[in-house]
Symmetry: C2
């Protein structure tokens, strides 16, 4: 079955754990992190093999998105309610415009190395051939505790059936999963709009799916909670498949991730931007200005515009708490 492919790039989030590079009006996908292109541009380019590329974003980012990626069609979501509602909305819009198709959903703020297209095409093929919901799985290279894990079931040649999902395990469990051949749930999906909306109709997203059919997306968004597509749909759906990624992947989710994607100096310091270090080791430094570090180790030092963050590398996830507080104060 050879249906058109609609790539839907999700660009409505902010990537708060990369504060202060990210700010309320400057989300992660607009940043480049050492590359020539912004992550959004790279994502749209990577999806260029699709028959049509959509970017789904929030209204306040739409103008910037149009400027950055003029080749893409911009969709704006009625409200920011995480990936569950967003993808139901996108599926409905895409089906309206293209009819039967494969919808490839991909985050706009992940770093991919190697060839994305072969894996993505295979995921779309599985989605259209089997009407399954397909997630692209990444082989873990460490016992990360911040990701969702996929337990693969029977091998169906082009894919594995999915036996179960587990969110954010502890380190020991993550290590066991890795040894058993589990995959990370990378947030890149393929399905037909029909299959996805059918599955979503049996979940908390039902009021939204009904409202979309009734032509009132705004009311639909008001009727559902903020919820990820994993929690809302994939973890409960019976017909989920995983296609292993044949490319390199990093979500660059928090500052400590820079240590994975950049080359360290002789003291183990990783730097994005300009820095000077004296007897400082194993730090992650990122700045659009200039950072000096003396006699310190295992820190993240991030300084952008007039904002600076210093956090122990082990606490990199806690940047979220900083942003929560700044949001409360109205200064994010």
């Amino acid at each position: 079955m050879d249906r058109p492919i609609a790539a839907v790039v999700l660009a409505g989030g902010t990537g708060t754990r990369l504060y202060p590079a990210t700010r309320g009006d400057r989300p992660k996908q607009f940043l480049s992190f050492g590359d020539e292109q912004s992550m959004l541009e790279a994502t749209v380019e990577r999806a260029g093999f699709a028959d049509r590329v959509y970017v789904l974003t929030r209204p306040s980012f739409a103008a910037d998105v149009e400027e950055l990626v003029p080749s893409a069609t911009v969709l704006t979501e009625p409200a920011p309610k995480d990936t569950g509602p967003a993808l139901a909305y996108a599926a409905h819009r895409v089906r309206e415009e293209l009819g039967p198709c494969a919808m490839l959903a991909l985050p706009s703020d992940h770093r991919i190395t190697g060839e994305f297209e072969p894996t993505a095409r295979r995921a779309c093929r599985v989605a259209t051939d089997t009407e399954r919901l397909v997630t692209i799985g990444v082989e873990p290279d460490r016992p990360a505790t911040g990701y969702g894990y996929i337990e693969p079931g029977p091998d169906r040649d082009e894919f594995y059936e999915v036996t179960s999902f587990t969110e954010k395990p502890d380190r020991e469990t993550a290590e066991r999963y890795r040894k058993r051949g589990y995959y990370w749930n990378s947030g890149t999906f393929a399905w037909t709009p029909d299959a996805f909306l059918d599955a979503a109709g049996d979940t908390e997203l039902e009021p939204l799916v009904d409202a979309l059919d009734g032509g009132d997306p705004q009311r639909g968004f008001e009727a559902v909670p903020s919820i990820s597509v994993d929690y809302a749909v994939l973890e409960s759906a019976p017909n989920v498949a995983v296609v292993p990624a044949e490319y390199g992947w990093d979500d660059l989710g928090s500052w400590d991730a820079l240590a994975r994607v950049l080359e360290p100096d002789d003291d183990g310091n990783v730097t994005l931007g300009e820095s000077l270090t004296l007897d400082a080791s194993n730090n992650v430094i990122a700045t659009d200005g200039h950072v000096s570090a003396v006699g310190v180790e295992d820190l993240v030092i991030a300084s952008f515009d007039d904002r600076t963050l210093v956090v122990d590398k082990d606490d990199a996830q806690r940047v979220r708490e900083v942003v929560d507080q700044l949001r409360t104060d109205g200064t994010f």
Copy 2:
């Protein structure tokens, strides 16, 4: 003997250990560090009881000095060569203009609390009455290793004779000095121009003193090394007196000093500017923007303009090395 008092405020330095608040074009004395006035303004105001107030600075700072303290007479030194040559030059200029007088020399970047005038007047009186070189001594409240110590000799009622000077002792020696009643050499002096130039004429500064008499200060500065007045003159002069300070004093010489002059929060963090701390303790934070600190302790985090410095509190003196490197790179 009631001679006029000429206050000479030394404002030619940069205060490099407070980088990045200080920069090549923004020396410490122009900054306020939480007070309403800049340190230079406060110093000139403090010296206001003098019959005339001079500010000695380098040509590149002269316009800013004139703007900040229009009531003072600006002198520009022919070359930046530390306090020895600077004070010889100032003594000569002041004598030319005022004739016999007491010259009160004071740094422009120290923080004084309490009454400065009584001690300063007493120092001037001792200087004119005895023709001694007078230094104002501060009673140590800790075994600081970064200062010069003064061993007081016989008590002459208004002053002590000085038995010896010691520069930058180790901690143990500093502790012993403190117990024995030594004073810190605060860099605030009083003398008559005649007495000072006579004493300087017997030192490495002789070529400068001669050249000043010959009307060629430029050549005089070229003929002498960069040298502090302590090394050049006071430590070898036979007629030095110390007058104990009856005011509070801090040189705010490096970032860790902020912990002495600002009130800490419940976690022992001291902040100048805006900050947010989570499980962070005993840090010194200074910024003209906003700093977030998570899970870190005993750090100095200073962020101004596009520059950020993170240094272990114990290494606060090493900021000098950072600045040396930046100067080499032409980016200070």
